[in-house]
Protein backbone atom coordinates (compact mmCIF):
# COMPACT_ATOMS: atom_id res chain seq x y z
CA UNK A 1 0.00 0.00 0.00
CA UNK A 2 2.61 2.47 1.06
CA UNK A 3 4.69 1.36 -1.85
CA UNK A 4 1.95 2.06 -4.32
CA UNK A 5 1.27 5.42 -2.78
CA UNK A 6 4.91 6.30 -2.92
CA UNK A 7 5.43 9.51 -4.89
CA UNK A 8 7.94 7.76 -7.11
CA UNK A 9 5.52 5.06 -8.08
CA UNK A 10 2.89 7.65 -8.82
CA UNK A 11 5.11 9.73 -10.99
CA UNK A 12 6.48 6.86 -13.02
CA UNK A 13 3.69 6.14 -15.47
CA UNK A 14 3.36 8.76 -18.20
CA UNK A 15 2.16 11.90 -16.48
CA UNK A 16 -1.49 11.81 -15.49
CA UNK A 17 -3.55 14.44 -17.29
CA UNK A 18 -3.24 17.65 -15.33
CA UNK A 19 -2.99 19.97 -18.28
CA UNK A 20 -4.98 22.75 -16.67
CA UNK A 21 -2.61 23.21 -13.79
CA UNK A 22 0.44 22.98 -16.05
CA UNK A 23 -0.50 25.52 -18.68
CA UNK A 24 -1.95 27.97 -16.24
CA UNK A 25 1.32 28.10 -14.42
CA UNK A 26 3.29 28.33 -17.60
CA UNK A 27 1.24 30.93 -19.44
CA UNK A 28 2.69 34.05 -17.88
CA UNK A 29 6.17 32.98 -18.90
CA UNK A 30 7.73 34.07 -22.14
CA UNK A 31 7.21 31.75 -25.03
CA UNK A 32 10.91 31.81 -25.89
CA UNK A 33 11.86 30.65 -22.45
CA UNK A 34 9.55 27.68 -22.76
CA UNK A 35 11.07 26.61 -26.05
CA UNK A 36 14.50 26.94 -24.52
CA UNK A 37 13.31 24.85 -21.60
CA UNK A 38 12.19 22.05 -23.89
CA UNK A 39 15.35 22.25 -25.96
CA UNK A 40 17.57 22.00 -22.90
CA UNK A 41 15.73 18.79 -22.07
CA UNK A 42 15.32 17.06 -25.41
CA UNK A 43 18.65 17.82 -27.06
CA UNK A 44 20.82 16.14 -24.40
CA UNK A 45 18.20 13.47 -23.75
CA UNK A 46 18.04 12.76 -27.48
CA UNK A 47 21.82 12.29 -27.54
CA UNK A 48 21.62 9.89 -24.59
CA UNK A 49 18.86 7.96 -26.34
CA UNK A 50 20.90 7.76 -29.55
CA UNK A 51 23.98 6.54 -27.67
CA UNK A 52 21.88 3.89 -25.93
CA UNK A 53 19.73 2.73 -28.80
CA UNK A 54 21.97 2.81 -31.88
CA UNK A 55 24.23 -0.01 -30.58
CA UNK A 56 21.15 -2.09 -29.73
CA UNK A 57 19.67 -1.40 -33.15
CA UNK A 58 22.94 -2.40 -34.76
CA UNK A 59 22.67 -5.86 -33.25
CA UNK A 60 19.02 -6.23 -34.28
CA UNK A 61 20.01 -5.15 -37.78
CA UNK A 62 22.68 -7.83 -38.11
CA UNK A 63 20.49 -10.50 -36.60
CA UNK A 64 17.68 -10.08 -39.12
CA UNK A 65 19.60 -9.00 -42.22
CA UNK A 66 20.81 -11.58 -44.75
CA UNK A 67 24.59 -12.11 -44.77
CA UNK A 68 26.38 -9.77 -47.16
CA UNK A 69 23.62 -7.17 -47.21
CA UNK A 70 24.60 -3.58 -46.45
CA UNK A 71 21.10 -2.22 -46.00
CA UNK A 72 20.45 -0.17 -42.89
CA UNK A 73 17.01 -1.66 -42.41
CA UNK A 74 16.61 -5.40 -41.79
CA UNK A 75 14.65 -5.93 -45.00
CA UNK A 76 14.27 -8.46 -46.59
CA UNK A 77 14.04 -10.05 -43.17
CA UNK A 78 15.59 -13.45 -42.51
CA UNK A 79 15.55 -15.85 -39.59
CA UNK A 80 18.40 -18.00 -40.92
CA UNK A 81 20.87 -16.67 -38.36
CA UNK A 82 18.60 -17.70 -35.50
CA UNK A 83 18.18 -21.18 -36.93
CA UNK A 84 21.94 -21.60 -37.35
CA UNK A 85 22.70 -20.32 -33.85
CA UNK A 86 19.89 -22.22 -32.14
CA UNK A 87 20.56 -25.59 -33.77
CA UNK A 88 24.07 -25.40 -35.23
CA UNK A 89 25.88 -23.61 -32.41
CA UNK A 90 23.89 -25.26 -29.64
CA UNK A 91 22.18 -22.14 -28.30
CA UNK A 92 19.04 -24.19 -27.79
CA UNK A 93 20.83 -26.15 -25.06
CA UNK A 94 22.65 -23.08 -23.70
CA UNK A 95 19.36 -21.23 -23.46
CA UNK A 96 17.83 -24.10 -21.52
CA UNK A 97 20.83 -24.23 -19.14
CA UNK A 98 20.67 -20.47 -18.60
CA UNK A 99 16.93 -20.56 -17.90
CA UNK A 100 17.36 -23.37 -15.37
CA UNK A 101 20.27 -21.65 -13.63
CA UNK A 102 18.74 -18.18 -13.54
CA UNK A 103 15.28 -19.50 -12.61
CA UNK A 104 16.61 -21.54 -9.71
CA UNK A 105 18.75 -18.62 -8.55
CA UNK A 106 15.66 -16.42 -8.62
CA UNK A 107 13.66 -18.81 -6.40
CA UNK A 108 16.46 -19.56 -3.93
CA UNK A 109 17.58 -15.92 -3.64
CA UNK A 110 14.07 -14.63 -3.11
CA UNK A 111 13.26 -17.12 -0.36
CA UNK A 112 16.54 -16.52 1.48
CA UNK A 113 16.22 -12.76 1.07
CA UNK A 114 12.64 -12.81 2.37
CA UNK A 115 13.66 -14.67 5.52
CA UNK A 116 16.86 -12.74 6.15
CA UNK A 117 15.37 -9.42 5.08
CA UNK A 118 12.52 -9.84 7.53
CA UNK A 119 15.00 -10.51 10.33
CA UNK A 120 17.02 -7.42 9.39
CA UNK A 121 13.99 -5.18 9.04
CA UNK A 122 11.95 -6.21 12.07
CA UNK A 123 14.37 -7.41 14.76
CA UNK A 124 17.30 -6.05 16.64
CA UNK A 125 19.64 -8.90 17.40
CA UNK A 126 23.20 -9.44 18.44
CA UNK A 127 25.58 -9.68 15.51
CA UNK A 128 23.33 -7.74 13.15
CA UNK A 129 25.82 -4.94 12.64
CA UNK A 130 28.64 -7.41 12.12
CA UNK A 131 26.56 -9.25 9.55
CA UNK A 132 25.81 -6.02 7.69
CA UNK A 133 29.47 -5.04 7.72
CA UNK A 134 30.48 -8.43 6.32
CA UNK A 135 27.81 -8.02 3.63
CA UNK A 136 29.27 -4.63 2.72
CA UNK A 137 32.79 -6.03 2.65
CA UNK A 138 31.77 -8.74 0.21
CA UNK A 139 31.20 -5.96 -2.30
CA UNK A 140 34.96 -5.43 -2.36
CA UNK A 141 35.72 -9.00 -3.32
CA UNK A 142 36.62 -9.38 -6.96
CA UNK A 143 34.63 -12.13 -8.66
CA UNK A 144 37.87 -13.21 -10.28
CA UNK A 145 39.29 -13.72 -6.80
CA UNK A 146 36.64 -16.29 -5.98
CA UNK A 147 37.27 -18.35 -9.11
CA UNK A 148 40.09 -20.42 -7.69
CA UNK A 149 38.73 -21.33 -4.24
CA UNK A 150 35.17 -21.86 -5.50
CA UNK A 151 36.47 -24.13 -8.21
CA UNK A 152 38.31 -26.15 -5.54
CA UNK A 153 35.17 -26.35 -3.37
CA UNK A 154 32.93 -27.46 -6.21
CA UNK A 155 35.56 -29.86 -7.43
CA UNK A 156 35.66 -31.47 -3.97
CA UNK A 157 31.87 -31.63 -3.87
CA UNK A 158 31.84 -33.13 -7.36
CA UNK A 159 29.72 -30.27 -8.65
CA UNK A 160 31.82 -29.02 -11.55
CA UNK A 161 29.97 -29.45 -14.82
CA UNK A 162 26.82 -29.36 -12.74
CA UNK A 163 24.43 -26.42 -12.92
CA UNK A 164 23.98 -26.59 -9.14
CA UNK A 165 27.44 -25.06 -8.68
CA UNK A 166 26.39 -22.10 -10.80
CA UNK A 167 23.12 -21.70 -8.92
CA UNK A 168 24.97 -21.63 -5.59
CA UNK A 169 27.67 -19.22 -6.78
CA UNK A 170 25.17 -16.86 -8.41
CA UNK A 171 22.91 -16.88 -5.36
CA UNK A 172 25.73 -16.16 -2.94
CA UNK A 173 27.23 -13.39 -5.03
CA UNK A 174 23.92 -11.64 -5.38
CA UNK A 175 22.83 -12.25 -1.80
CA UNK A 176 24.06 -8.97 -0.24
CA UNK A 177 22.09 -6.87 -2.71
CA UNK A 178 19.02 -9.13 -2.44
CA UNK A 179 19.05 -8.93 1.34
CA UNK A 180 19.51 -5.18 1.57
CA UNK A 181 16.88 -4.49 -1.08
CA UNK A 182 14.37 -6.85 0.49
CA UNK A 183 14.83 -5.53 4.01
CA UNK A 184 14.27 -2.03 2.60
CA UNK A 185 10.98 -3.13 1.06
CA UNK A 186 9.89 -4.90 4.26
CA UNK A 187 10.75 -1.84 6.32
CA UNK A 188 8.42 0.14 4.10
CA UNK A 189 5.47 -1.98 5.21
CA UNK A 190 4.25 -0.30 8.41
CA UNK A 191 4.71 -2.43 11.53
CA UNK A 192 1.27 -1.30 12.69
CA UNK A 193 -0.46 -3.37 10.01
CA UNK A 194 1.32 -6.46 11.25
CA UNK A 195 0.56 -5.65 14.86
CA UNK A 196 -3.12 -5.22 14.02
CA UNK A 197 -3.10 -8.73 12.58
CA UNK A 198 -1.52 -10.09 15.78
CA UNK A 199 -4.19 -8.41 17.83
CA UNK A 200 -6.79 -10.05 15.63
CA UNK A 201 -5.31 -13.42 16.56
CA UNK A 202 -2.84 -14.09 13.79
CA UNK A 203 0.42 -15.80 14.61
CA UNK A 204 3.57 -14.10 13.44
CA UNK A 205 3.83 -16.44 10.46
CA UNK A 206 0.18 -15.99 9.53
CA UNK A 207 0.47 -12.23 9.78
CA UNK A 208 3.48 -12.34 7.50
CA UNK A 209 1.82 -14.60 4.96
CA UNK A 210 -1.59 -12.94 4.93
CA UNK A 211 -0.74 -9.28 5.48
CA UNK A 212 2.89 -8.50 4.73
CA UNK A 213 3.49 -10.81 1.78
CA UNK A 214 0.74 -9.35 -0.45
CA UNK A 215 2.10 -5.85 0.18
CA UNK A 216 5.61 -7.03 -0.65
CA UNK A 217 4.76 -8.03 -4.20
CA UNK A 218 6.75 -5.20 -5.82
CA UNK A 219 9.73 -6.04 -3.62
CA UNK A 220 9.59 -9.70 -4.46
CA UNK A 221 9.31 -8.96 -8.16
CA UNK A 222 12.27 -6.60 -7.98
CA UNK A 223 14.58 -8.80 -5.91
CA UNK A 224 13.71 -11.92 -7.90
CA UNK A 225 14.23 -10.18 -11.21
CA UNK A 226 17.60 -8.77 -10.25
CA UNK A 227 18.75 -12.18 -9.07
CA UNK A 228 17.56 -13.62 -12.38
CA UNK A 229 19.33 -10.95 -14.41
CA UNK A 230 22.61 -11.27 -12.54
CA UNK A 231 22.57 -15.06 -12.82
CA UNK A 232 21.60 -14.88 -16.48
CA UNK A 233 24.50 -12.54 -17.17
CA UNK A 234 27.17 -14.34 -15.19
CA UNK A 235 30.05 -15.32 -17.39
CA UNK A 236 33.23 -16.03 -15.41
CA UNK A 237 31.77 -18.68 -13.08
CA UNK A 238 30.13 -20.53 -15.94
CA UNK A 239 33.33 -20.34 -17.97
CA UNK A 240 35.39 -21.70 -15.09
CA UNK A 241 33.05 -24.38 -13.69
CA UNK A 242 31.60 -25.81 -16.90
CA UNK A 243 33.91 -27.59 -19.29
CA UNK A 244 31.38 -29.78 -21.13
CA UNK A 245 29.67 -28.08 -24.01
CA UNK A 246 26.23 -29.38 -23.09
CA UNK A 247 26.51 -27.51 -19.77
CA UNK A 248 27.40 -24.13 -21.26
CA UNK A 249 25.21 -21.12 -20.58
CA UNK A 250 24.35 -18.45 -23.13
CA UNK A 251 27.20 -16.06 -22.20
CA UNK A 252 29.76 -18.85 -22.51
CA UNK A 253 28.28 -19.85 -25.86
CA UNK A 254 28.51 -16.23 -26.98
CA UNK A 255 32.15 -16.01 -25.93
CA UNK A 256 32.95 -19.01 -28.12
CA UNK A 257 31.14 -17.40 -31.07
CA UNK A 258 33.21 -14.26 -30.44
CA UNK A 259 36.41 -16.24 -30.31
CA UNK A 260 35.89 -17.97 -33.64
CA UNK A 261 38.27 -16.75 -36.28
CA UNK A 262 36.42 -14.79 -38.95
CA UNK A 263 33.27 -14.74 -36.89
CA UNK A 264 29.88 -15.08 -38.56
CA UNK A 265 28.46 -11.69 -37.60
CA UNK A 266 24.87 -12.59 -38.38
CA UNK A 267 25.05 -15.60 -36.08
CA UNK A 268 26.83 -13.53 -33.43
CA UNK A 269 24.12 -10.87 -33.50
CA UNK A 270 21.38 -13.49 -33.40
CA UNK A 271 23.06 -15.14 -30.40
CA UNK A 272 23.32 -11.75 -28.75
CA UNK A 273 19.64 -11.13 -29.29
CA UNK A 274 18.81 -14.50 -27.73
CA UNK A 275 20.93 -13.47 -24.74
CA UNK A 276 19.46 -10.01 -24.39
CA UNK A 277 15.73 -10.54 -24.85
CA UNK A 278 14.82 -12.09 -21.49
CA UNK A 279 16.74 -9.52 -19.47
CA UNK A 280 15.67 -6.45 -21.37
CA UNK A 281 12.00 -7.40 -21.19
CA UNK A 282 12.36 -8.14 -17.50
CA UNK A 283 14.33 -4.96 -16.88
CA UNK A 284 11.85 -2.70 -18.65
CA UNK A 285 9.23 -4.14 -16.33
CA UNK A 286 11.15 -3.81 -13.07
CA UNK A 287 13.32 -0.72 -13.51
CA UNK A 288 10.84 1.47 -11.62
CA UNK A 289 11.08 -0.90 -8.67
CA UNK A 290 14.84 -0.56 -8.80
CA UNK A 291 14.71 3.21 -8.34
CA UNK A 292 12.07 2.68 -5.68
CA UNK A 293 14.06 0.03 -3.84
CA UNK A 294 17.14 2.21 -3.80
CA UNK A 295 15.25 5.15 -2.33
CA UNK A 296 13.38 2.84 0.03
CA UNK A 297 16.44 3.01 2.22
CA UNK A 298 18.77 0.58 0.59
CA UNK A 299 21.17 3.36 -0.22
CA UNK A 300 20.81 5.15 3.04
CA UNK A 301 20.54 1.97 5.09
Amino acid sequence: MTLLEDPIARSLPVEPPRPGAQTERRRPRHRGRRVLDRLSLWVPLGLFLLFTLVPLYWMVLFAFRPSGSTSLIPWPITFDHFASVWNGSGFGIYFQNSIITAGATLVVSTVIALLGGYALARFAFRGKTLFLVVMLCTQFIPGAMMLIPLFEIFNTLGLTNNLISLIIADTVFHLPLSLVLMSGFIRNVPVEIEEAAWVDGCTRVQAFRLVVLPLLKPGIVAVGSFAFISAWNNFLFALMFMSQQDRFTVPVGLSYLLGEFGADFGALAAGGLVAILPVVILFAYVQKFLVQGMSAGAVKG
Binding site: W58, I141, P142, I148, V291
Partner: protein
Protein backbone atom coordinates in the same frame (compact mmCIF):
# COMPACT_ATOMS: atom_id res chain seq x y z
CA UNK B 1 14.59 6.35 11.31
CA UNK B 2 15.65 2.95 10.13
CA UNK B 3 17.08 2.19 13.53
CA UNK B 4 13.95 3.16 15.39
CA UNK B 5 11.80 0.36 14.03
CA UNK B 6 13.97 -2.62 14.96
CA UNK B 7 14.59 -1.14 18.38
CA UNK B 8 10.90 -1.15 19.06
CA UNK B 9 10.58 -4.69 17.87
CA UNK B 10 13.25 -5.81 20.25
CA UNK B 11 11.00 -5.09 23.19
CA UNK B 12 8.79 -7.94 22.08
CA UNK B 13 7.59 -8.48 25.60
CA UNK B 14 5.64 -5.24 25.51
CA UNK B 15 3.04 -6.83 23.28
CA UNK B 16 2.61 -10.07 25.16
CA UNK B 17 0.37 -10.11 28.23
CA UNK B 18 3.09 -10.77 30.77
CA UNK B 19 5.26 -7.77 31.56
CA UNK B 20 8.28 -9.99 32.09
CA UNK B 21 7.88 -11.35 28.54
CA UNK B 22 11.56 -12.09 28.21
CA UNK B 23 11.30 -14.97 30.61
CA UNK B 24 8.25 -16.62 29.05
CA UNK B 25 8.89 -19.53 26.66
CA UNK B 26 7.09 -17.74 23.83
CA UNK B 27 9.29 -14.71 24.15
CA UNK B 28 12.38 -16.88 24.29
CA UNK B 29 11.29 -18.53 21.05
CA UNK B 30 10.66 -15.11 19.55
CA UNK B 31 14.17 -14.07 20.46
CA UNK B 32 15.46 -16.99 18.41
CA UNK B 33 13.44 -15.92 15.34
CA UNK B 34 15.94 -13.49 13.84
CA UNK B 35 18.74 -16.05 14.07
CA UNK B 36 16.64 -18.77 12.47
CA UNK B 37 15.53 -16.43 9.73
CA UNK B 38 19.00 -15.21 8.87
CA UNK B 39 20.64 -18.63 9.26
CA UNK B 40 20.40 -19.71 5.59
CA UNK B 41 22.00 -16.47 4.44
CA UNK B 42 24.75 -16.68 7.05
CA UNK B 43 25.46 -20.30 6.21
CA UNK B 44 25.80 -19.61 2.49
CA UNK B 45 27.98 -16.57 3.10
CA UNK B 46 30.26 -18.46 5.48
CA UNK B 47 30.77 -21.48 3.24
CA UNK B 48 30.88 -19.82 -0.17
CA UNK B 49 32.26 -16.36 0.58
CA UNK B 50 34.16 -16.18 3.84
CA UNK B 51 35.83 -19.58 3.55
CA UNK B 52 36.97 -18.99 -0.05
CA UNK B 53 38.42 -15.61 0.87
CA UNK B 54 40.32 -17.23 3.73
CA UNK B 55 41.56 -19.96 1.41
CA UNK B 56 42.81 -17.39 -1.09
CA UNK B 57 45.02 -16.00 1.66
CA UNK B 58 46.16 -19.55 2.41
CA UNK B 59 46.89 -20.38 -1.25
CA UNK B 60 48.83 -17.16 -1.70
CA UNK B 61 51.49 -18.74 0.54
CA UNK B 62 51.51 -22.00 -1.41
CA UNK B 63 52.92 -23.22 -4.67
CA UNK B 64 49.85 -24.58 -6.39
CA UNK B 65 49.96 -25.04 -10.12
CA UNK B 66 47.85 -27.66 -11.86
CA UNK B 67 50.39 -27.90 -14.65
CA UNK B 68 53.33 -28.43 -12.25
CA UNK B 69 51.95 -30.60 -9.43
CA UNK B 70 55.43 -31.80 -8.40
CA UNK B 71 56.22 -28.27 -7.29
CA UNK B 72 53.23 -27.86 -4.91
CA UNK B 73 53.82 -27.06 -1.27
CA UNK B 74 54.55 -24.24 1.12
CA UNK B 75 55.98 -21.22 -0.68
CA UNK B 76 56.39 -18.61 2.02
CA UNK B 77 56.39 -15.22 0.38
CA UNK B 78 57.76 -16.54 -2.95
CA UNK B 79 54.56 -15.64 -4.77
CA UNK B 80 54.75 -12.08 -3.49
CA UNK B 81 58.41 -11.53 -4.28
CA UNK B 82 57.73 -12.92 -7.76
CA UNK B 83 55.36 -10.00 -8.29
CA UNK B 84 58.08 -7.40 -7.88
CA UNK B 85 59.96 -8.81 -10.84
CA UNK B 86 56.83 -9.32 -12.94
CA UNK B 87 56.50 -6.45 -15.46
CA UNK B 88 52.98 -7.58 -16.30
CA UNK B 89 51.93 -7.06 -12.69
CA UNK B 90 53.15 -3.45 -12.66
CA UNK B 91 51.67 -2.76 -16.07
CA UNK B 92 48.29 -4.17 -15.06
CA UNK B 93 48.36 -2.15 -11.84
CA UNK B 94 48.99 1.04 -13.79
CA UNK B 95 46.25 0.29 -16.27
CA UNK B 96 43.79 -0.60 -13.48
CA UNK B 97 44.28 2.83 -11.95
CA UNK B 98 43.85 4.57 -15.29
CA UNK B 99 40.79 2.48 -16.14
CA UNK B 100 39.00 3.08 -12.82
CA UNK B 101 39.70 6.82 -12.74
CA UNK B 102 38.62 7.48 -16.31
CA UNK B 103 35.53 5.29 -16.13
CA UNK B 104 34.26 6.60 -12.80
CA UNK B 105 34.87 10.24 -13.72
CA UNK B 106 33.04 9.95 -17.03
CA UNK B 107 30.22 7.86 -15.58
CA UNK B 108 29.80 10.44 -12.84
CA UNK B 109 29.49 13.34 -15.28
CA UNK B 110 27.14 11.60 -17.70
CA UNK B 111 25.23 9.69 -15.04
CA UNK B 112 24.51 12.85 -13.07
CA UNK B 113 23.45 14.68 -16.25
CA UNK B 114 21.12 11.83 -17.23
CA UNK B 115 19.62 11.64 -13.75
CA UNK B 116 18.96 15.39 -13.68
CA UNK B 117 17.30 15.20 -17.10
CA UNK B 118 15.14 12.22 -16.15
CA UNK B 119 14.08 13.88 -12.93
CA UNK B 120 12.34 16.66 -14.84
CA UNK B 121 8.66 16.36 -15.59
CA UNK B 122 7.80 15.63 -19.19
CA UNK B 123 5.54 13.44 -21.28
CA UNK B 124 7.15 10.09 -22.02
CA UNK B 125 9.42 10.15 -19.00
CA UNK B 126 8.67 6.55 -18.05
CA UNK B 127 9.60 5.31 -21.50
CA UNK B 128 12.71 7.51 -21.64
CA UNK B 129 13.83 6.05 -18.31
CA UNK B 130 13.23 2.45 -19.34
CA UNK B 131 15.11 2.96 -22.62
CA UNK B 132 18.14 4.82 -21.30
CA UNK B 133 18.49 2.50 -18.31
CA UNK B 134 18.24 -0.73 -20.31
CA UNK B 135 21.99 -1.28 -20.95
CA UNK B 136 22.45 -1.78 -17.22
CA UNK B 137 20.72 -5.15 -17.52
CA UNK B 138 23.03 -6.22 -20.33
CA UNK B 139 25.94 -8.50 -19.47
CA UNK B 140 29.57 -7.62 -20.07
CA UNK B 141 29.89 -10.30 -22.71
CA UNK B 142 26.84 -9.03 -24.54
CA UNK B 143 28.23 -5.50 -24.42
CA UNK B 144 31.28 -6.94 -26.13
CA UNK B 145 29.14 -8.60 -28.78
CA UNK B 146 27.33 -5.36 -29.53
CA UNK B 147 30.45 -3.21 -29.69
CA UNK B 148 32.40 -5.75 -31.73
CA UNK B 149 29.71 -5.36 -34.37
CA UNK B 150 30.06 -1.59 -34.17
CA UNK B 151 33.85 -1.41 -34.16
CA UNK B 152 34.58 -4.05 -36.79
CA UNK B 153 35.76 -2.36 -39.98
CA UNK B 154 33.67 -4.70 -42.14
CA UNK B 155 30.42 -4.44 -40.22
CA UNK B 156 30.71 -1.32 -38.13
CA UNK B 157 29.35 2.15 -38.20
CA UNK B 158 32.77 3.40 -39.35
CA UNK B 159 32.14 1.86 -42.73
CA UNK B 160 28.96 3.85 -43.26
CA UNK B 161 30.61 6.99 -41.97
CA UNK B 162 33.51 6.40 -44.37
CA UNK B 163 31.00 6.09 -47.22
CA UNK B 164 29.80 9.54 -46.24
CA UNK B 165 33.35 10.82 -46.24
CA UNK B 166 33.94 10.79 -42.48
CA UNK B 167 37.04 8.83 -41.51
CA UNK B 168 38.72 6.10 -43.52
CA UNK B 169 37.72 2.63 -44.65
CA UNK B 170 39.20 -0.36 -42.94
CA UNK B 171 40.18 1.24 -39.64
CA UNK B 172 39.17 -0.37 -36.39
CA UNK B 173 39.27 1.32 -33.03
CA UNK B 174 40.21 -2.03 -31.52
CA UNK B 175 43.44 -2.48 -33.45
CA UNK B 176 45.60 0.47 -32.40
CA UNK B 177 47.21 0.82 -28.97
CA UNK B 178 45.88 4.32 -28.35
CA UNK B 179 42.42 3.81 -29.80
CA UNK B 180 41.76 0.50 -28.04
CA UNK B 181 41.56 2.28 -24.72
CA UNK B 182 39.06 4.77 -26.15
CA UNK B 183 37.04 1.90 -27.61
CA UNK B 184 36.69 -0.03 -24.33
CA UNK B 185 36.00 3.15 -22.37
CA UNK B 186 33.07 4.00 -24.65
CA UNK B 187 31.71 0.45 -24.53
CA UNK B 188 31.87 0.39 -20.73
CA UNK B 189 30.29 3.84 -20.50
CA UNK B 190 27.36 2.56 -22.50
CA UNK B 191 26.79 -0.05 -19.80
CA UNK B 192 27.92 1.94 -16.75
CA UNK B 193 26.20 5.31 -17.07
CA UNK B 194 22.67 3.92 -16.57
CA UNK B 195 23.38 2.44 -13.17
CA UNK B 196 25.01 5.62 -11.97
CA UNK B 197 21.95 7.51 -13.16
CA UNK B 198 19.62 5.06 -11.38
CA UNK B 199 21.39 5.51 -8.05
CA UNK B 200 21.40 9.30 -8.29
CA UNK B 201 17.86 9.53 -9.59
CA UNK B 202 16.63 7.54 -6.61
CA UNK B 203 18.14 10.18 -4.37
CA UNK B 204 17.06 13.17 -6.45
CA UNK B 205 13.47 12.12 -5.91
CA UNK B 206 13.87 12.56 -2.18
CA UNK B 207 14.70 16.27 -2.49
CA UNK B 208 11.66 18.10 -1.08
CA UNK B 209 9.91 20.19 -3.73
CA UNK B 210 9.40 23.06 -1.27
CA UNK B 211 13.13 23.69 -1.28
CA UNK B 212 13.03 24.42 -5.00
CA UNK B 213 10.01 26.63 -4.55
CA UNK B 214 11.82 28.53 -1.82
CA UNK B 215 14.86 28.86 -4.07
CA UNK B 216 12.59 30.14 -6.85
CA UNK B 217 11.14 32.75 -4.51
CA UNK B 218 14.65 33.82 -3.60
CA UNK B 219 15.36 34.25 -7.29
CA UNK B 220 17.94 31.51 -7.60
CA UNK B 221 18.99 30.55 -11.12
CA UNK B 222 19.36 26.93 -12.28
CA UNK B 223 23.05 26.78 -11.36
CA UNK B 224 22.47 28.26 -7.92
CA UNK B 225 19.60 25.84 -7.33
CA UNK B 226 21.83 22.93 -8.20
CA UNK B 227 24.70 24.05 -5.98
CA UNK B 228 22.62 25.06 -2.97
CA UNK B 229 19.69 22.65 -3.04
CA UNK B 230 20.33 19.61 -5.19
CA UNK B 231 24.00 18.93 -4.56
CA UNK B 232 23.91 18.87 -0.72
CA UNK B 233 21.03 16.41 -0.94
CA UNK B 234 22.57 13.97 -3.37
CA UNK B 235 26.15 14.32 -2.16
CA UNK B 236 25.96 11.19 -0.02
CA UNK B 237 24.52 9.16 -2.88
CA UNK B 238 27.22 10.45 -5.21
CA UNK B 239 29.93 9.36 -2.79
CA UNK B 240 28.36 5.91 -2.54
CA UNK B 241 27.78 5.61 -6.27
CA UNK B 242 31.31 6.63 -7.21
CA UNK B 243 32.71 4.21 -4.64
CA UNK B 244 30.54 1.32 -5.84
CA UNK B 245 31.26 2.02 -9.49
CA UNK B 246 34.95 2.32 -8.67
CA UNK B 247 34.94 -1.08 -6.98
CA UNK B 248 32.95 -2.63 -9.82
CA UNK B 249 35.09 -1.13 -12.54
CA UNK B 250 38.16 -2.37 -10.68
CA UNK B 251 36.65 -5.85 -10.56
CA UNK B 252 35.20 -5.72 -14.05
CA UNK B 253 36.61 -8.64 -15.97
CA UNK B 254 33.95 -9.84 -18.40
CA UNK B 255 34.10 -6.93 -20.84
CA UNK B 256 37.86 -6.57 -21.07
CA UNK B 257 38.38 -10.34 -21.14
CA UNK B 258 36.14 -10.72 -24.15
CA UNK B 259 36.48 -7.37 -25.97
CA UNK B 260 40.25 -6.99 -25.99
CA UNK B 261 41.46 -10.07 -24.15
CA UNK B 262 43.68 -7.58 -22.33
CA UNK B 263 45.47 -6.65 -25.52
CA UNK B 264 46.97 -5.39 -27.69
CA UNK B 265 50.27 -6.30 -26.02
CA UNK B 266 48.58 -6.50 -22.59
CA UNK B 267 47.89 -2.77 -22.72
CA UNK B 268 44.32 -3.22 -21.43
CA UNK B 269 44.98 -5.89 -18.79
CA UNK B 270 43.66 -4.92 -15.36
CA UNK B 271 44.86 -6.65 -12.22
CA UNK B 272 41.71 -8.78 -11.79
CA UNK B 273 41.88 -9.69 -15.47
CA UNK B 274 45.46 -10.78 -14.94
CA UNK B 275 44.22 -12.87 -11.99
CA UNK B 276 41.53 -14.46 -14.15
CA UNK B 277 44.02 -15.24 -16.89
CA UNK B 278 46.46 -16.72 -14.39
CA UNK B 279 43.69 -18.85 -12.91
CA UNK B 280 41.83 -19.92 -16.05
CA UNK B 281 44.61 -20.20 -18.61
CA UNK B 282 47.78 -20.91 -16.67
CA UNK B 283 46.00 -22.74 -13.81
CA UNK B 284 48.63 -21.30 -11.49
CA UNK B 285 46.46 -21.03 -8.38
CA UNK B 286 49.26 -20.06 -6.00
CA UNK B 287 50.44 -17.01 -7.92
CA UNK B 288 46.86 -16.14 -8.89
CA UNK B 289 45.88 -16.14 -5.21
CA UNK B 290 48.81 -13.92 -4.28
CA UNK B 291 47.82 -11.44 -7.00
CA UNK B 292 44.28 -11.58 -5.67
CA UNK B 293 45.37 -10.82 -2.13
CA UNK B 294 47.24 -7.76 -3.37
CA UNK B 295 44.23 -6.65 -5.43
CA UNK B 296 41.91 -7.11 -2.46
CA UNK B 297 44.15 -5.18 -0.07
CA UNK B 298 44.65 -2.34 -2.54
CA UNK B 299 40.92 -2.09 -3.18
CA UNK B 300 40.05 -2.06 0.50
CA UNK B 301 42.76 0.50 1.26
CA UNK B 302 41.66 2.89 -1.48
CA UNK B 303 37.97 2.46 -0.61
CA UNK B 304 38.60 3.37 3.02
CA UNK B 305 40.82 6.26 1.99
CA UNK B 306 38.12 7.54 -0.34
CA UNK B 307 35.45 7.34 2.34
CA UNK B 308 37.74 9.12 4.76
CA UNK B 309 38.55 11.93 2.33
CA UNK B 310 34.95 12.49 1.30
CA UNK B 311 33.89 12.53 4.93
CA UNK B 312 36.45 15.19 5.74
CA UNK B 313 35.25 17.17 2.74
CA UNK B 314 31.72 17.09 4.15
CA UNK B 315 32.79 18.43 7.52
CA UNK B 316 34.82 21.35 6.24
Amino acid sequence: MTVAVPRRRSSQGGLSPSPRGRQSPIARRTRLYPYLLIAPAVLLVLVFLVYPVASVFFYSLQHSNVTQPWNDGFAGVDNFTRMFGDPLFWQSLRFTLQWVLVEVALQFVFGLALALLLNRTFVGRGIARALTFSPWAVSGILTTTIWILIYNPATGIGRYLADLGIGEHGTSLLSGQGTTFLAVVIAELWKGVPFFAILILADLQSVPGELYEAADVDGAGPLRRFVSVTWPHIRQAVVLATLLRGVWEFNNVDLLYTLTGGGPANSTTTLPLYVAQTAIQSRDFGYGSALTVVAFLLLTFFSLLYLRLTKRGAES
